[in-house]
């Protein structure tokens, strides 16, 4: 009874699956192989990071947040302002965006520790709306409805200039995504990360085994905010501007959908959901530019009626009598 069997079983879950390195290699190769699509690769990487950050909140801790864009936008504006007024170095700007979002997250985490699902929905929504209002009203700083323009970035690490095709941008975003992903992966497999899942599954029992639920939730929320801020900073840096829509409800709703489509609680859900969503959005927007939200809405309705877990199993769609 040396614990070997238990240890082997536990560590098995933490091991890299064979398809994972393949996925990442393909991702990094894509700006090279499909260089005219570098821009969309960049977008996907950013959205993936945003979605993975939400997974920490929703998939791992069980908080339904309708305002995660608050941290995304805060990171975007912070990085943009830093580049414009202080220095254009991308990594420094990224750090600033992350720190800013972390601080905001720490403050906001005070609001999500208690209360029902509805309460938490409200406060997360409220925080995002407050920031939207602020960004709108403080137009001398943020450019208001016109957005913050003219964010010109210096070369990454002093060497890699942002090229017109967007390849540097894509690799930059992919690198940040990978790094963050590795950190979150480690975090999720740790005792801390597993305790978050316990909190999600049964908050009462988690308390009853000595888990300080409030502080764990706050920490998870803050870490998620930091990652969302990183994604926002990447967006501002790679597109060269920041506008009010980074705070809009649509952003929070879209990322929620992305994560749900990809699957919550396994981190890759954010990545896969981002790929699917972005490709679909590109495709559908070309066909019906204005009414893309209609199809998105229809998709959501069908998704829920069919059952989230059955989405990836088409053979179960029409089977009746299954407990959804």
């Amino acid at each position: 009874m040396s614990g070997e069997r238990a240890q082997a079983a536990l560590l098995r879950a933490a091991r890299w699956k064979p398809w994972e390195p393949v996925l990442w290699l393909l991702a990094f190769a894509s700006p090279l192989l499909l260089s005219q699509y570098s821009a969309i690769v960049n977008e996907i990487a950013i959205v993936a990071l945003f979605a993975v950050s939400l997974d920490l909140v929703l998939g791992y801790t069980g908080i339904v947040s309708l305002g995660h864009a608050a941290f995304f936008g805060f990171g975007a504006y912070s990085a943009a302002l830093f580049a414009k007024h202080v220095m254009p170095d991308p990594l420094a700007g990224l750090a600033v965006g992350i720190v800013a979002a972390t601080v905001l997250g720490a403050v906001a985490s005070l609001t999500v520790q208690r209360g029902s699902d509805l309460t938490r929905l409200m406060v997360t929504l409220g925080v995002a709306l407050i920031l939207l209002e602020l960004a709108n009203k403080l137009d001398w700083l943020t450019g208001g409805a016109d957005g913050l323009q003219g964010v010109i970035m210096g070369p990454v690490l002093g060497r890699f200039e942002f090229d017109l095709m967007g390849r540097t941008a894509a690799w930059y975003s992919l690198s940040v995504l990978l790094l963050c992903f590795l950190l979150v992966r480690r975090f999720a497999r740790s005792p801390f990360g597993v305790s978050l899942e316990a909190i999600r599954d049964n908050r009462l029992r988690a308390m009853a085994v000595g888990i300080p639920v409030g502080s764990r939730v706050a920490i998870a929320y803050t870490v998620a905010a930091a990652l969302a801020g990183a994604a926002g900073a990447l967006l501002a840096q790679t597109t060269g501007f920041a506008s009010l829509d980074v705070f809009e409800f649509h952003r929070s709703a879209d990322v929620l959908l992305i994560l749900v489509v990809g699957g919550t609680g396994w981190l890759y859900g954010g990545v896969l959901g981002a790929i699917v969503f972005k490709l679909m959005q590109d495709f559908l927007s070309a066909i019906t530019p204005q009414y893309w939200t209609f199809w998105l809405g229809l998709f959501l309705v069908v998704l829920v009626l069919v059952g989230r877990d059955r989405l990836l199993k088409p053979w179960t769609w029409f089977r009746r009598g299954r407990a959804a």
Binding site: V64, G115, L121, M122, L129, E133, R308
Partner: protein, 290 residues
């Protein structure tokens, strides 16, 4: 200042009627219905279209603005909402957001995205001024009308809840569904009727509010947060809770936008967050209904 109070009360009463259906749905079915605003929008657009295209008088439109969303609500409840009552809140949120997106896009497609203007009948336009100086009270007739209609509805609802059989069945079902069903109360019928009625009220509110709040396809998304505030702060265990919360919200919003226009809605959101941190169950809620 009194005028601001008056306007705030009018706004608040309107919000109350709009949000009441949501509060009851939340309390009764434990269903987070973010599409509630779409029913309000439906009522508003029905009114506008009837008035513009068919020359129907405003007052006649109001009951229709109640009935059409009510019927719509009844149909949707029976077909789409009912299977989702026991699903996790995340699913309900996703579903209702999806419905909202569909409604918004559909209205945009069929009617266009411009603000709709309502031509109020002559006797509802105009203003009455009372007193003078600092204590001047300017009462817009339309706002007076809104307050009167909403107050009458509130009294009627309170009466129905406390003095009729349906009312007591509803209250029983809100308190404890299983027990209510065990007592022979047809919970499905109660749900259907309540959902339809709440949607109808929202439609009526949308029609009444078109002039005051503005009406365009983004209405459900814009005002969703306000409805949710009324419900979250007011609680779902009474009528008076949401009423007080709506009045508070209405006055705070009007006063805030008047006295500190730079900050606008910021005040309302901050106030809401502060209240919810202090009392996560809402200001007026009786029990812990997490």
């Amino acid at each position: 200042m009194l005028t601001i109070l008056f306007d705030g009360i009018a706004y608040g009463m309107l919000l109350f009627i709009l949000a009441l259906g949501l509060a009851v749905t939340m309390g009764l079915m434990n269903f987070i219905n973010l599409a509630h605003g779409a029913f309000a929008m439906a009522g508003g657009y029905v009114t506008v279209l009837l008035m513009q295209r068919a020359d129907v008088p405003f007052l006649v439109c109001l009951p229709i603005a109640f009935i059409v969303p009510a019927l719509l609500g009844a149909v949707l409840e029976r077909t789409l909402y009912r299977p989702l009552y026991n699903k996790p809140h995340l699913d309900q949120v996703l579903f209702s957001i999806g419905l909202t997106f569909m409604a918004v896009a559909a209205v945009d497609y069929f009617v266009g995205s411009t603000q709709q203007i309502i031509q109020l009948p002559e006797w509802l336009r105009g203003r009455t001024e009372l007193a003078a100086g600092d204590w001047r009270l300017g009462m817009g007739h339309y706002r007076l009308f809104i307050i009167a209609v909403c107050a009458a509805l509130t009294v009627a609802l309170q009466y129905v809840l406390s003095h009729t059989r349906f009312g007591s069945r509803l209250r029983a079902a809100v308190d404890d569904q299983r027990v209510a069903a065990g007592l022979g109360i047809n919970v499905n019928v109660v749900f259907l009727a309540t959902f339809a009625f709440g949607s109808g009220l929202a439609g009526l509110g949308g029609a009444l509010g078109a002039e005051v709040l503005g009406l365009d396809p983004t209405f459900p998304l814009k005002f969703m947060i306000y409805f949710l505030i009324v419900v979250a702060v007011g609680g779902t265990s009474s009528i008076t809770g949401p009423l007080l919360a709506a009045l508070l919200l209405g006055i705070a919003d009007v006063a805030g936008k008047y006295y500190i226009p730079k900050l606008g809605a910021f005040i309302v959101y901050t106030l809401m967050i502060a209240i919810l941190i202090w009392r996560p169950q809402g200001l007026f809620s009786r029990g812990a209904k997490a």
